[in-house]
């Protein structure tokens, strides 16, 4: 059995196979252990997702910029009135979902590239995830509250 074949078998095989290969790997560099294995065949998936998400973020921000510039003012009445329209509230919710995920992934890449200490890296990645999900939820709930308050308000008026 060649080294490459043994590595492949250990990568695909059971834990026992991995143990056997592990002893044969003693003294080998990390590069030496993976050389010849080929790609994991899923490396491109996240990369593609990032690009698709970036396109979505771009389109939604063009929509937001055009919408805001077209509003006559940015006072509470005008903004609430605008967000009561489903054709504004729904793109706004999509924008929040796309943007907060985009910034979560973006900040994660920066941390992964520049923070080399494992513990700090994990802590920062967790903080980023918590903050982006938390702020995104706050923003989304606020849009829903404004949008649905309209129904309650019109229902209350005689």
């Amino acid at each position: 059995m060649t080294d490459v074949a043994r590595s492949k078998a250990s990568a695909k095989g059971s834990a026992g196979g991995r143990d056997a290969a592990g002893s044969a790997d003693v003294g080998r560099t990390p590069l030496g252990r993976v050389r010849g294995l080929g790609s994991a065949r899923e490396g491109g998936h996240h990369w593609g997702q990032e690009r698709a998400l970036s396109v979505a973020t771009l389109l939604l921000f063009v929509w937001l910029a055009v919408s805001l510039l077209r509003l006559p003012a940015l006072d509470l009445e005008t903004v609430s009135e605008w967000l009561r329209n489903p054709l504004a509230a729904v793109p706004m919710l999509l924008l929040i979902a796309a943007t907060f995920r985009h910034l979560d992934w973006g900040l994660a890449v920066v941390v992964e590239d520049y923070v080399h200490e494992e513990g700090n890296k994990l802590l920062l990645l967790m903080l980023i995830r918590f903050a982006s999900v938390g702020a995104g939820a706050l923003a989304a709930f606020s849009v829903l509250k404004i949008a649905f308050a309209a129904a309650a308000a019109t229902g209350a008026t005689p």
């Binding site: 706050l138 923003a139 849009v143």
Partner: protein, 132 residues
């Protein structure tokens, strides 16, 4: 995985001569982090304030229209244009195009210039267009 500090590193940032493409690459990250932390914070504050009633919205609007808040708004709008335009340049490069040195340099300069022009146009419109 730990690195053996005795082994040499390949030449890094301090060694290379700076060019517009390098500036744009690192600016993409800096503006991205800025937009993520400052921009999304303000965006969330704006929506939460709008959902919380007149008093909360008044606090936000009071801060947002304070003249010194321009020191946040203007750089933030520039960061938005810079990040968006260099992101679009990245789409082209992700497709495998635009790597020839001349082309790459030209579009790097173009992105830097265009972001400044768009920022200037936006604020000219906000200050002069809105009033008219």
């Amino acid at each position: 995985m730990t690195r053996n500090p005795d082994r040499p590193l390949s030449p890094h940032l301090t060694i290379w001569k700076w060019g517009p493409h390098m500036a744009i690459s690192i600016l993409h990250r800096i503006t991205g982090v800025g937009l993520a932390l400052v921009g999304m914070g303000l965006f969330t504050w704006w929506l939460v304030a709008a959902a919380s009633g007149a008093e909360a919205y008044g606090t936000f609007a009071g801060w947002a229209s304070w003249k010194w808040a321009l020191l946040v708004w203007v750089p933030l709008s520039w960061a938005f244009f810079q990040h968006t335009l260099s992101g679009m340049r990245h789409f082209v490069m992700d497709a495998g195009a635009g790597f020839a040195l001349d082309t790459n340099k030209f579009w790097a300069w173009a992105v830097l210039a265009l972001a400044l022009v768009l920022t200037a146009l936006l604020w000219a419109w906000i200050i002069y267009g809105r009033a008219a």
